[in-house]
Symmetry: C2
Amino acid sequence: MKNQLCEQLGIDYPIFAFTHCRDVVVAVSKAGGIGVLGAVGFSPEQLKEELDWIDAHIGDKPYGVDIVIPEKYEGMGDMTAEEMEEQLWKMVPQGHMDFAQKLLSDAGVPEWPDGTNSMGLMGWTDATATPLLEEALTRPGCRMIANALGTPPADKIKMVQDSGRLIGALCGKVKQALAHKAAGLDFVVAQGGEGGGHTGEIGSVVLWPQIVDALGDTPMLAAGGIGNGRQIASALAMGAAGVWTGSLWLTVEEAHIEEAQRDSLLNATSEDTIRSRSWTGKTCRMLKNEWTEAWERPDTPDPLGMPLQGMVTSDGMRRTATYANVGECQKVAFNPCGQVIGQIGEQENVRTVMFNLLSEYVDAVERLNNLMPET
Amino acid sequence: MKNQLCEQLGIDYPIFAFTHCRDVVVAVSKAGGIGVLGAVGFSPEQLKEELDWIDAHIGDKPYGVDIVIPEKYEGMGDMTAEEMEEQLWKMVPQGHMDFAQKLLSDAGVPEWPDGTNSMGLMGWTDATATPLLEEALTRPGCRMIANALGTPPADKIKMVQDSGRLIGALCGKVKQALAHKAAGLDFVVAQGGEGGGHTGEIGSVVLWPQIVDALGDTPMLAAGGIGNGRQIASALAMGAAGVWTGSLWLTVEEAHIEEAQRDSLLNATSEDTIRSRSWTGKTCRMLKNEWTEAWERPDTPDPLGMPLQGMVTSDGMRRTATYANVGECQKVAFNPCGQVIGQIGEQENVRTVMFNLLSEYVDAVERLNNLMPET
């Protein structure tokens, strides 16, 4: 399974595991894939702590870091991040804030003990991104940076590439992939509509070959529906250089996840997800629940755009993660995941998951070899 | 590529081509796949004419027929089809009829020259289905029947199987596949959300392996996004016994299609489709246009359910097909197709399409063979 991308990163299998959990990062990298730490929303101090732990436990295996490196917002000019956030707050209606808070309190989600309302832009600005990026680049073990949203600015691309690392970004449309390629990114993650988190409308089977063809020499990682070895074979058959996986790792033993949240995910079928704008303002696939339904009703506020909706909900996002086990929290919790969650029904450890991926992949290729046409 | 399903049907490649055009049926079967004539909406006389032509041109190659064999509607009891249709018409608001007619006339779609309003249930009842089925079963060349919607009633399954033919049906969810299997169908077509026509929400990459696993020994045909050989390799890698294709054949030389409609399809990208209830009342993927947008607006009527919405629109469906080249017809035309339409940019003949499918398939399997993990 080794190809050029594997050589560049020093990994055995082009299996990229996107996760917020440092133990999963380490376990996947040790098993021959590469763990990618999702650091959106981390402060620089939090990221330093996570990377210290990873560096101490991963040996000589490589890993990656995923952050948001936004384009500069129009009109930012000389504004500081604080000034910009102040302007943005003026655009957030109080009715939306009240509606969000009511949904949380009706479900019994506790407030913060110190009474704070920890809201904010959650790292969507350049002011947060730069320190995070700089922190990641101090780590020899960190071999790649992924941008969670859009084409990074040229100066950030240069910063990463000059340090000898790879930089890539996600896309859901051919147009975005072409922009990434033009900017000189080292790889592109193409996520089909069945994927978890921010995701577009085109299904993976249709999207992946289009992106492969658009990218030419630039390697593509296939995302959106990768949960077993057959799906990996599908993706590689299309010309993908590897796969980018997320939902697959949400419920593994090594994941830091509350019992109630793990149960929500393990019990979910593929029909229990919805693409909703209710948390971030951009369509994001997550488990359906009373929160997502509440924002869909005609008689309730409509989600604002990004980043405003994220400012309305970031308090709820943190509280439902922290208090996942409390009250009826799962009814309003933010649980991003892909449709593939339906095929994950039990908790396993990372080594078992990786072993199953590889052996099922081999079986799938066997099956294809037995079905070669006589032309 | 030969497997048991191929042996049973007498074909070389498990490539099923769903089409309304008899020339395409013949060309695909002659090229080693199997053409399936979509006969929904045909009268028994129309079907006889089409099958006479196919039989006269196809030699000893096999083909299939796709019709709607509905479950009996509740409360039908002793009602005749005419009585039932009369009852259904009472449930259709005049406002919906007027809105549909206005959309058509605003786009300059001509009325029928004899002034009739050819509306009706378009074959959704048992009364239409039985004569169609009986006609198909008089043809030795017809080796399989596919049901376009739901699990067929037991008596129809027996009728087909007793005649020595295969019968299958489409599904978009595991639950439907299990019902098909329990009813003893010979194969199941699993269509992912990117597919054209009536289609569900689960993306193909996620749906296909779940349906394969649910069906066990019952063969699965993968649908939704199959437009090239790489996508076929994907599907077969998952365990599909073959592929069911539709959009791929809409614009081939052999297709009977008006210039303007062919242009709409060839120019479309994967982002130009929408799942809309505006024609049949059930979510159906088609090209977006002013018709689909008009029914989405909050200030206009909402689509009724099935079969009522079909009764509102069947006149429009026929007129926009017949008068596809006239006026601004394409702005309101019914153009069902999958997201995969985006990768079809030129008119080719069936032999070329089949050749490309097979050679790209072989390349994809080659690629996978070169990416076997060292475990």
